[in-house]
């Protein structure tokens, strides 16, 4: 059985998430899917799992062609998607989870528990998971849960197994066990689509690799004779020649942000400085602590010890409000959940905080607010520049501009701008615009910019310096004038090798 994806296209409003994607996965083949965040990998997965319907194109599985799948027809077609965020139900035990929605029954009503349990034992054996089928799922580790999900897929006779960054949350031992299982399933004739960031896994496991960039397939080859360097080149694409070498900042300038021996849950002995006008990248994989560090500086998470100083003054930040008063602002990683007020207008989203700062004696001053909106909309090239449009109708890039404008304007008094994954879900053109906005706020307003990213391309394009994070520590401080994307990728992937 072969899975063929032809001309798959997905539009989200004005954004093209997938652009005419072709992909073939043969039975008994491990097909790796590589690409940066926002390259379109997860949209492919969603189309396969039935989470979203493609705008155009088709998916053919075992001779049947589908224009769109929903979760039910996807399962029926033999596709099993193991998402990064696992979808087991904590309160049920392993057996119940395995057969959820496909319970074995007598007369269609009564559960045949003994029957299910013995089937569960066989399934667990097949995936090499040594736990009792009566164990509540909440007592399992992430790695064990993943195996339960795979067992569930097998119980449904899945012919295509889609693994979405399966090793991201696993220990080295668990990763190795997973790799063994993938090889075993491959030998049984199951097709595996393996989505990952980690090149070592690709080299080790994949028979064939497809690389996506900006919603398109840019490279697809059998792995025979392909080296890691080839993959790096394919992923990065070297398409960022336009990146302007940022003006270096005098290292003697007193820092706008100075963090000294910061200790917090998940962070260890973090010290760093960011100078006014400087753009610094925080680079690391998921779980390295880059987002956590930003959220801790912003008062979203507690600090255990250590000091944070803004413009030389030590600040004590317990809540986001304290951080904002100190001139420390965060553009959060999850724009929709943490940043935007969906049904409110873009004008209101922009001036939400400024409103309090411009108010006199408790009364809003609409004219001052309008001026702030007009100025920032013009400076950042916001489109449409109409304050009345609900912010939910803006494209991802323009939403991001609104969030930056909330903190960076004539009134807000922000000194340090923290950004978590600043171009998440933003298409290429808009990405360049966001970079331009950030360069502009650093250069013209003398802001210190600290952004977290797991996209080396982004770090190269934007940062003057790069702090590499691993397991809650800053392990490297790189001058980006002398560092390329290959080095970053290499650095992070080699360091992740299980020892």
């Amino acid at each position: 059985m072969t899975v063929s994806i032809r001309g798959l296209t997905k539009r989200y409003g004005p954004t093209l998430a997938l652009d005419d994607v072709d992909l073939d996965i043969a039975a008994g083949e491990v097909h790796a899917l590589l690409g940066h965040n926002g390259a379109g990998k997860s949209t492919v997965i969603k189309c396969l799992g039935g989470g979203t319907a493609p705008s155009a194109g088709s998916i053919t599985i075992g001779g049947t062609t589908y224009d769109a799948l929903d979760p039910r027809s996807s399962i029926a077609a033999g596709i099993a998607v193991i998402y990064q965020h696992l979808s087991l139900i904590d309160r049920l035990d392993v057996t119940e989870n395995l057969f959820l929605g496909q319970e074995t029954t007598t007369a269609g009503v009564f559960l045949r528990r003994a029957d299910q349990r013995s089937r569960a034992v066989r399934l667990l054996e097949r995936v090499g998971l040594d736990v009792s089928p009566d164990t509540p799922v909440r007592q399992l580790t992430i790695g064990q849960r993943q195996l339960v999900e795979i067992a569930k897929a097998l119980s449904r006779d899945a012919r295509l197994l889609v693994l979405d960054e399966p090793s991201a949350a696993l220990s080295p031992v668990e990763s190795r066990r997973l790799a063994d299982l993938v090889r075993l399933l491959k030998a049984e004739g199951i097709a595996v689509l393996y989505v990952t960031h980690l090149l070592n896994e690709v080299v080790e496991l994949a028979d064939r690799t497809t690389v996506m960039r900006d919603g398109r397939v840019v490279w697809s080859q059998p792995m025979a004779g392909v080296s890691k360097t080839d993959l790096v080149t394919a992923v990065s694409g070297r398409a960022h020649g336009a990146a302007v070498a940022p003006r270096p900042v005098d290292p003697d300038t007193p820092p706008a942000l100075a963090v000294d021996h910061l200790e917090a849950p998940g962070l260890h002995d973090v010290s760093l400085v960011v100078r006014p006008g400087e753009i610094v990248g925080l680079y690391g994989l998921v779980g390295s602590g880059r987002s956590r560090l930003l959220e801790t500086l912003f008062g979203r998470r507690p600090v255990t010890s250590g000091t944070v100083a803004v413009d030389g003054r030590t600040v004590r930040v317990r809540r986001p409000d304290d951080a904002l008063r100190a001139g420390l602002a965060l553009v959060p990683g999850d724009r929709l959940r943490q940043g935007l007020f969906g049904s409110l207008s873009s004008g209101e989203n922009t001036v939400l905080r400024v409103m309090s700062l411009t108010a006199r004696a408790g009364w809003r001053r609409p004219r001052a607010e309008q001026e702030v909106f007009r100025n920032t909309a013009a400076a950042f090239g916001l489109r449409p520049a109409d304050p009345e449009v609900p912010v939910s109708r803006l494209s991802g890039g323009n939403q991001q501009k609104v969030l930056i404008a909330r903190w960076v304007n004539d009134r807000a008094g922000t000194r340090v701008l923290l950004l978590d994954d600043p171009t998440q879900g933003v298409d290429v053109g808009a990405r360049a615009e966001i970079y331009e906005v950030l360069r502009q706020v650093a250069a013209e307003r003398g802001l210190a910019v600290l952004f977290a990213s797991n996209d080396p391309d982004e770090v190269v394009a934007l940062a003057q310096r790069c702090l590499v994070m691993r397991r809650g520590r800053v392990v490297d401080d790189l001058d980006m004038r002398h560092t390329g994307e290959e080095q970053l990728l290499d650095l992070i992937h080699t360091e992740l090798e299980p020892s």
Partner: protein
């Protein structure tokens, strides 16, 4: 509504907040159509009043309407702060019993010989005290406001009965003025209701804290991360809604000239919530205005009154009021879809403003 308007739009035609509205419509006809789509209930209200007027001759007259407004006033006074809580993503179901508590407290104080103003002040305080309890549980401890205020609905009823086990009555004319008196020919409760609605409307649109009410309702997490005080604002709203219910209690008692702690304000909380929802304020939070509350309250009052005038019995009136609520919400959901499509068109419109920057 929003803060900044494009230079081409005249600020004069502003309406208190609906949620973000697309840019000014090109023609007055389209603008009017758009406005009606946003306010289907208002259309219905006008049709209904006209219908009743035609069907019954001129029975709608002032004397009859005065009664409608007196009822509506008491509901509006409480519906205004409750609507603000709903916009912020909370709810207050305890207002019926708080009304009873405020009523008996006012009654007791008046009977002790104090001036009616002192009595009203005590009713406000008693209501505010209930509000503080709600607020502490729902905002400081973060319990579900539905559960907290449902519990308080029962508990406060008990407190009211403890305060006054026997029904009070005969409070004297001075206090009675609060319930039925006229100022410049307008019933005092109606004036108070207008004042409360106006104050709430101005607060919601013209102060940062008012806009924060919406922000909290739309996305609490984002509001917190934007430095909004996501506890203090709902806290104060709970206290306000308690105080308003206390005031409504004093008015009701003054009007009835009796204060039966067991029956006073029974089911009142449902009338308030119904009016709020009828007006089109979504229980999911983040949307609504005081205009919506006014329309909701009037619609409910006039519907009942119209049915009475048409000779419909109370039982059938109940059936009609209940169905009206469901219908209104269905209409609101329907127009929401239409509005969404209209906005989608607006947002994809090629942009003129960008060219001029």
């Amino acid at each position: 509504m929003t803060t900044a308007s494009p230079p081409t739009v005249d600020g004069a035609d502003r309406r208190p907040p609906s949620t973000g509205r697309a840019a000014a419509a090109p023609s007055p006809v389209a603008a009017a159509a758009g406005w009606l789509v946003k306010n289907p209930l208002l259309v219905l209200l006008v049709v209904m009043v006209a219908g009743v007027q035609l069907a019954t001759g001129s029975q709608l007259g002032w004397g009859n309407l005065r009664g409608v407004f007196l009822d509506a006033a008491v509901i509006a006074i409480v519906a205004a702060p409750v609507a603000m809580l709903v916009i912020a993503g909370y709810i207050d179901l305890s207002v019926g019993s708080t009304l009873a508590l405020g009523g008996v407290v006012a009654g007791k104080v008046v009977q002790s010989g104090a001036s009616p103003l002192v009595a009203v002040g005590c009713a406000l305080l008693a209501g505010a005290a209930v509000g503080v309890v709600n607020a502490v549980l729902a905002t400081v401890f973060g319990l579900s406001s539905f559960i907290v205020t449902l519990g308080m609905l029962t508990a406060v009823r008990g407190v009211a009965q403890l305060v006054s086990p026997l029904p009070l009555s005969n409070f004297g004319e001075a206090f009675g003025f609060l319930g039925i008196g006229n100022v410049a020919g307008i019933p005092l409760p109606a004036l108070l209701a207008v004042a409360v609605l106006l104050a709430a409307g101005v607060f919601l649109t013209r102060t940062p804290a008012g806009r924060h009410v919406y922000a909290i309702g739309v996305n609490r997490e984002a509001a917190y991360l934007s430095g909004v005080d996501v506890r203090r604002i709902p806290f104060l709203l709970f206290v306000t809604s308690g105080a308003a219910a206390g005031l409504a209690g004093a008015i009701t008692v003054a009007r009835l000239n009796s204060a039966p702690a067991g029956q006073l304000g029974a089911g009142f909380e449902l009338s308030v919530i119904t009016a709020v929802l009828l007006g089109g304020i979504a229980l999911t939070g983040g949307e609504g205005s005081m205009v919506d509350v006014l329309v909701g309250v009037l619609f409910m009052g006039l519907l009942r009154n119209g049915l009475t005038l048409l000779g419909v019995t109370t039982f059938w009136q109940n059936v009609a009021s209940g169905l009206a609520l469901v219908a209104a919400i269905a209409i609101a959901a329907g127009t929401h879809v239409v509005r969404g499509k209209m906005q989608a068109r607006e947002a994809h419109r090629p942009d003129e403003a960008a060219a001029t920057g």
